[in-house]
């Protein structure tokens, strides 16, 4: 099973990298809608609520079809608002699927992220059920086919004493209560959305709930344009005495319909249950073997100064500051392993290098970069590329590029002392290649890196380091050309600088003043 999971992950990653790279070239990474899929889904939900309120004013449970038909006759407003409501719901499904695909490809589905994965599935389920009730509300032939098929499937379950499918056969007129219930569900389910969404983002700090305005504006604008130019077809009214020949099927909500109508209800339930188990079980069957799972961060309490920065920077609220028990006055950081995804952001945020996943703390990084330089022996004027191994155009996986590649698991892990060490060791320049901000597997790695290097965020790059020799570039996994272009540009920019002077015998531990002060205080 793990072999299958790895192969699936590899292929989804490849596909995602390719799609991201294409859209980045067209729109730039700030405008790439795939990076905003989750936030876009929420924006579309808000659009659905706004347009839904307008539609609700005209909807009548006593005459559902007639009221929608009247609405459709409002050429200037009602018709396109109805179409916009429909297309926004379709786009929401698309956005949710894209979001789920990204989360799978980027391994953001198991361990502490399993809650978000499963609650995301619940959100998708709610969205689909909400859509089905919306279609049944219209009570046209498509709504009828959906209702009859839904009733056929539900009748297999031992829930009702009599088949509910009989409600649609024409024995009696369909009661208004049925349409009222439908309307109630259609309105109540989005409220449930809010609750599940809260659970969905409960394990992340600073969840991004809205995409950039430009992206929202373009998406909404295009949907409005589509709604005006391509109005929704008003199918014939449902009738229990005529079998509908052709119905306008919404692929996003009823792709399954042509298949299930041909299968016995029991088989449909079995297939549905299997699909659900497969998706909901992904956090279990697709997680790496225990030995391969990254370990949660650890805090060296002796080094911790209680500055709060790791707790502030942690994208998963996995670090709490608690009173010390060793007699010192300050608080001390404690990592909650059940929330820590081993992103390593804390390693880059800790000035005294006292926190981080095993083998990836600032101190470990300094030791590694020391060995790296000793082994690779950069030529005078050489550039070191510190590349995220998840993105950065794949440079982190490929040392055969111009310059020396120092791979890191996430650019947000990089401790600024590593950059300082490289510059003081005499390299011509340090190019940090991170994933675009919204593509970061660890959510905020790229943002914190830039803030530490250029905006004096705690664990900042020291003033003494020549900023002209340090640059941050962004490239997604599939943007190898863009990453190499950034390397070339940086090398060109460095040509105008004087030759760097290499310091001899840099004391790695001295790079960290706080470490010394703590140790000095203890002495």
């Amino acid at each position: 099973m793990q072999r299958f999971a790895r192969a699936l992950e590899r292929e989804t990653r490849r596909l995602l990298a390719s799609a991201d790279a294409t859209l980045n070239r067209l729109y730039g990474w700030r405008g790439n809608p795939l990076y905003q899929s989750g936030a876009l889904a929420i924006s579309l939900l808000i659009l659905l609520i706004v347009t839904g309120v307008y539609l609700l004013i005209f909807y009548r449970v006593g005459s559902p079809y007639a009221s929608v038909a009247r609405l459709n006759e409002q050429v200037w407003v009602g018709r396109w608002i109805r179409a916009l409501h429909r297309y926004a719901s379709d786009a929401a499904v698309l956005a949710v699927l894209a979001h789920g695909f990204r989360m799978y490809a980027q391994r953001r589905r198991w361990g502490p992220r399993a809650l978000a994965w499963v609650s995301g599935l619940v959100l998708l389920g709610l969205l689909l059920v909400c859509g089905w009730t919306g279609y049944v509300m219209v009570w046209d032939t498509f709504g009828q086919v959906l209702a009859v098929e839904g009733a056929r499937l539900l009748d297999l379950l031992p829930l009702f004493s009599e088949p509910i499918g009989r409600a649609f056969v024409g024995e009696q007129p369909i009661p208004g209560a049925f349409f009222f219930l439908n309307l109630f569900l259609h309105i109540a389910l989005p409220i449930g959305f809010g609750v599940v969404l809260w659970v969905h983002v409960s394990r992340v700090a600073r969840p991004v709930l809205a995409p950039p305005r430009r992206v929202t504006g373009v998406v909404v604008g295009l949907l409005v344009l589509a709604a005006v130019l391509i109005p929704v077809v008003m199918a014939p009214e449902a009738s229990p005495f005529v079998l509908p020949e052709r119905v306008p099927l919404d692929v996003f909500y009823a792709l399954w319909l042509p298949l299930t109508r041909e299968l016995p209800a029991g088989v449909v339930w079995l297939l549905g249950a299997a699909a659900l188990l497969l998706l909901a079980g992904a956090p279990i069957w697709s997680r790496p073997a225990l030995a391969e799972r990254p370990r949660p961060s650890l805090v060296n309490e002796r080094l911790c100064t209680g500055c709060w920065q790791c707790a502030l920077d942690c994208p998963y609220e996995a670090i709490a500051m608690l009173p010390r028990t060793d007699g010192r006055a300050e608080v001390v950081a404690r990592v909650d392993p059940s929330r820590c995804v081993s992103c390593g952001i804390c390693a880059g945020s800790c000035a005294p290098m006292g926190v981080g996943p095993p083998q990836r703390t600032g101190r470990d990084q300094l030791e590694r970069v020391q060995t790296f330089l000793a082994q690779r022996q950069p030529e005078p004027g050489g550039v070191v590329i510190v590349a995220c191994s998840n993105g950065a155009g794949g440079l982190g996986d490929d040392p055969a590029v111009e310059g020396l590649v120092f791979p890191v698991q996430c650019a947000g892990n990089v401790h600024t002392s590593v950059i300082e060490y490289l510059v003081r060791a005499g390299v011509e320049g340090v190019l940090l290649v991170a994933c675009p901000a919204r593509d970061c597997w660890n959510r905020e790695g790229a943002a914190w890196l830039e803030a530490r290097v250029f905006r004096n965020r705690e664990a900042e790059l020291q003033e003494r380091v020549d900023r002209r020799r340090v640059r941050v570039a962004y490239a997604g996994r599939g943007e190898r050309r863009a990453a190499l272009e950034a390397v070339r540009e940086f090398r060109t920019a460095l040509l105008g600088l004087e030759s760097p002077v290499a310091e001899e015998g840099i004391d790695v531990l001295k790079l960290c003043d706080a470490t010394e002060s703590v140790e000095g205080a203890e002495a």
């Binding site: 297309y87 698309l94 009599e162 949907l223 391509i230 077809v233 119905v247």
Partner: protein
């Protein structure tokens, strides 16, 4: 890529995706391809209730809590009925519908769909109490009068020649007021 080309490609792709969303939102799907019509049997009717009653002994009564001491207890169910459907003299369905509920004591329902070719058909639908009313009388029946009200008769027979249009659904149902099977 030149900015103009990039803008054109980007705009074109975004427009195409929006058009695809609108198009995929209403794909024409053939729900029922053929010209076949449908005969639909659907009704709910209260079948004759069969009850067996007995007096509870003094000893049994004493074992029961005071509020449960009924001198006479009755257990009942709905009598079985049979539905036989023939089209143009050919039997197409023969089944014994059950009363709903775990003890099958609630009204029985019939729900069956049979495809038919369009055109004229001679239709026969028979609903009959299994064994007949006299054949299996309850040993001791104390069915209250209000139970008997609205009970489907022991035998109902619908015989009719119908003309079905392509894709028409003909409903055969039970009219409780007229106590007869009817078509719609």
């Amino acid at each position: 890529m030149r900015p103009g080309v990039r803008a054109a490609l980007g705009g074109g792709l975004a427009t195409a995706v929006a058009a695809a969303v609108a198009g995929l939102s209403q794909v024409s799907y053939t729900a029922d391809p053929g010209p076949e019509a449908l005969l639909r049997l659907s009704w709910r009717a209260r079948g004759e209730r069969v009850e067996v009653c007995r007096d509870v002994t003094e000893e049994e009564l004493r074992k029961l809590p005071q509020h449960m001491r009924q001198p006479r207890v009755c257990e009942g169910t709905t009598a079985p009925y049979r539905v036989v459907v023939s089209v143009d003299g050919e039997p197409v369905a023969d089944e014994i519908p059950s009363g709903s509920g775990t003890r099958q004591a609630r009204p029985l329902y019939v729900y069956r769909e049979l495809p038919l070719s369009p055109g004229a058909h001679h239709l026969s639908v028979l609903l009959e109490r299994v064994g007949g009313a006299a054949e299996s009388p309850p040993q001791e029946s104390e069915i209250e009068e209000d139970h008997k009200k609205g009970v489907v008769p022991p035998r109902l027979h619908l015989e009719e020649t119908v003309h079905l249009a392509p894709r028409q659904v003909l409903l055969v149902t039970y009219d409780a007021e007229r106590q007869a099977l009817i078509t719609r």
